[in-house]
Point group: C2
Chain length 340, copies 2
DNA sequence: TATCGCTATGGCAGCGCTACCATTTGGTGG
DNA sequence: CCACCAAATGGTAGCGCTGCCATAGCGATA
C-alpha cells in the first residue's frame, strides 16, 4: 500500500482508516454497511477514526465494486410545473430513506432529448428509472431492455408499457367531468384542447369528452384546439374565439387548469357570470384553481402519490419481491367548486 | 482478459469493444472523449461496433479513474414550490449541455437533513454543489472544505459565504417595496411576516420594512407574524387578525405571494376594495399574483437566472477560469400591478 | 539512407471499494 | 484439555475505466 502523499489522488481511503483503526479494510466496509456484523468494540474504534478524520466513503467506487449504484433516474418534461414537481417530490421523499439518490433530467418535451438523457443515466448505471408519459421513441425500449433496468412510466397509463406504470386514464377522467357537466344541466358543451401531436393526453381527454357528449345526445359539441403552450393567455384567447363563433355555449371544459384560469378571466372581462351564464371546468388540480373567484371545478390527480407509488414499485423490484400489480391506476377526483 | 461469460458482471466492457474493433482499449476510450485525436478510419470501425452492440460506457468506472464525476449536487428545501423549481430548471438546463448531470435532494427545510444529504453527495463525489439559503450548520463548512468542493449558495446572499453565491438582498428588496407603498400615499403600513427562527429571509424583509417606515415617519408600523407554512390560508387568517386589531391599516405587505393571495381574498370577503380601501403587496413574483383580481403588486425575483448564474460559476471554477465576482447580486424588480 | 517530428495507438497500473472466500477467535460441552 | 461451532475478522482479486508513458507509423528533409 502506497503512502498517501505519493498517490495520484490525495483522498483518504478505506485502507487508511483500516490501518489507523488497526483492523482490515473489509471490517471497515462492513461497519458501514452491516454494522450488526461487527463487534461493538471494533465499531467504536472505527467510528472514532472516522470522526477524527472526517472520512466519507467513496460511493462511486463502492458502486463499481458492488455493481449497483443506488441511483434512480427521474425524467420529466419540465420541472417548473407543479404537475411534475409533485411527482419529483414524491419520488425523492420515498427513495431517500431507502438509501437511493435521484438523478434528475428534464426533457423539455423532446423525445430525442429524452433518449439522450436515458442513455446518459444508463451510463451512470442507475438502478431504476422513472419516466413521464407513455410515448417514447423506439430506442428507449431497446436501451432499457439491453440494460435490463426497471422502468416506471408515470402520469398517463401506457397502452403498451415498457415495464411498470403508475397513472390514470385521461379518457375516463374527461368522461367523468363531462358527465358531471351534463348532470348539472349544461346543454351546449365545448372543450378546449391542445393542438400538439405529441400531447396524447389532451387527445385522450377530448375523445372522452366527445364519447360522453354524443352518448348523451348533446347537440353539436364543440372542440376548440389551441397550439403552443397551454398558458392562461392561450386560455383567454381560446375562450374569446370560441364565444365569438359559438355564443350559445353554456359550458367549457379546458384540458388544463391554467387555460381554464385564462378562460375564466375572459368571461369576467365580457361580463358573463360564471357559472350562471357559462360553466367552466379545468383539469389537473393545480392550486390556482382554488384561488380564483369563483374557484374552478377541476379534475384532481393525486400527483404526489404517483411519485410515491412509482418509488414503491422500484423498491419492490430491487428487493426481488413479487409485484402483483405492475400497472397502477391511481384514479382521479372531480373537485366540485364554484365555476361549474 | 477473461471471456465475458465467466466474469462476475455480464456487462460489455471497453476492452470487448476494443477487441471487436481490432484496436486497443485506450483508443476506444479516446474515440468517446476526444474523437478528434482518433483517425477517422479507426473511429468508424469503433462506431460500427458500438452501434451493433448497443454498448454504453460505464461513467461510474470512468469517474473513478478520472477522479471527477461530472455530477452536480443540488439541494432545495422543497421541490414543489415554484421558487425552487425555477432554480432547479435553471441549473439543469445550463449544466446538461456542458456534460454535467444533477443530483437532486430536498431538505424539507431541515438543516440536519441538509447535512446528511451533503454528506451523501460528497460521498458520490459530486464535482460541485448548489445550496439554497445562506444558513447552514457548521458541519457544512467542514465537509465542503475537507472535500474541497466548489459551492454556490443561492437565493439569499450570505453575510459570510462558504464559497460563491448568487442571490439578492431581501432587506433591500423589502425596503424598495415599502418605499413604493409610501410613495403611493399609504400612511398606516403593516407587514405580515413568517414566525420561524430558521426563516431569516422573512426577518430580513421585516427589518427592511421597518427601517424605511421609521425613516419616513410612519406612525406605528405594524408587524404581524404567522407561524407554520406560508400558505394562502395563513394569509387570510393574518389579514383577518390584523384588520380586527388595526382597522385603520391602509396597506399590507406580505412576505410571500401565497399569503398575499389569501389576504386579498379576506379583504374581498369583507367588502374592502383593493387597492382603494387597502393596498396589498406580495413578495416572490409567483405566477398567481398575475392571475388574481385585482392582480397583486409584488417583488419579482429572477429565479431562473439565479440557477443559471450558479451553474455558470461552477463551470468557470471547473475550468479553472478566474472568477471576478464570486458573489452575484441578481437584483429584484417591483412588479407594479393593480393591488397597490 | 538516416534523422527528425509529428500523429496515432497501445500496455498497464491504479482509481477506492466490495464479493468471495479463508482464517482466526472465543465460548461450549464432553 | 480438546474438539467443535458460530461469530468476527482479514487478504485479495476484480468492478470498468482513464492517466501516464512508451511505442509505432509515416512523411518530410537533408
Amino acid at each position: 500500500m502506497k503512502p498517501l502523499h505519493q498517490r495520484r489522488s490525495k483522498r483518504l481511503r478505506i485502507e487508511d482508516i483500516a490501518r489507523m483503526a488497526g483492523v482490515g479494510p473489509t471490517t471497515v466496509s462492513r461497519s458501514f454497511r452491516q454494522p450488526e456484523k461487527v463487534s461493538q468494540k471494533t465499531r467504536k474504534k472505527i467510528d472514532a477514526v472516522v470522526r477524527e478524520t472526517g472520512y466519507i466513503p467513496d460511493l462511486m467506487a463502492g458502486s463499481l465494486a458492488s455493481l449497483q449504484s443506488r441511483l434512480i433516474a427521474l425524467l420529466v418534461p419540465t420541472i417548473a410545473n407543479p404537475v411534475h414537481s409533485d411527482i419529483i417530490q414524491g419520488v425523492t421523499d420515498y427513495m431517500r430513506p431507502a438509501g437511493y439518490e435521484v438523478l434528475l433530467g428534464s426533457t423539455g418535451y423532446s423525445p430525442k432529448v429524452e433518449v439522450d438523457l436515458i442513455r446518459a443515466f444508463v451510463g451512470r448505471r442507475a438502478d431504476g428509472m422513472v419516466l413521464t408519459g407513455a410515448n417514447h421513441l423506439p430506442e428507449v425500449k431497446q436501451i432499457v431492455e439491453m440494460a435490463s433496468i426497471p422502468v416506471v412510466e408515470t402520469w398517463e397509463l401506457p397502452g403498451n408499457p415498457l415495464d411498470m406504470a403508475v397513472g390514470f386514464s385521461n379518457r375516463q377522467a374527461a368522461m367523468s367531468m363531462t358527465q358531471y357537466l351534463i348532470d348539472r344541466g349544461c346543454k351546449r358543451l365545448a372543450i378546449v384542447g391542445h393542438d400538439a401531436p405529441s400531447d396524447s393526453r389532451s387527445s385522450a381527454r377530448v375523445e372522452g369528452f366527445l364519447a360522453v357528449a354524443v352518448q348523451a345526445g348533446i347537440i353539436e359539441p364543440v372542440v376548440w384546439l389551441v397550439p403552443g403552450p397551454t398558458t392562461s393567455q392561450r386560455g383567454s384567447e381560446a375562450m374569446s374565439g370560441l364565444l365569438n363563433k359559438h355564443p350559445e355555449t353554456d359550458s367549457v371544459f379546458f384540458v388544463s387548469d391554467l387555460m381554464a384560469v385564462g378562460g375564466l378571466l375572459e368571461c369576467q372581462r365580457r361580463g358573463l357570470t360564471v357559472p350562471n351564464k357559462i360553466a367552466i371546468a379545468g383539469f389537473g388540480g393545480s392550486e390556482i384553481t382554488a384561488l380564483t373567484h369563483p374557484a374552478i371545478t377541476t379534475v384532481h390527480i393525486p400527483r404526489k402519490e404517483i411519485g410515491k407509488r412509482a418509488a414503491e414499485l422500484l423498491l419492490l423490484r430491487f428487493n426481488n419481491e413479487s409485484i402483483l400489480e405492475p400497472i397502477i391506476d391511481v384514479g382521479y377526483m372531480i373537485m366540485k367548486r364554484e365555476s361549474a
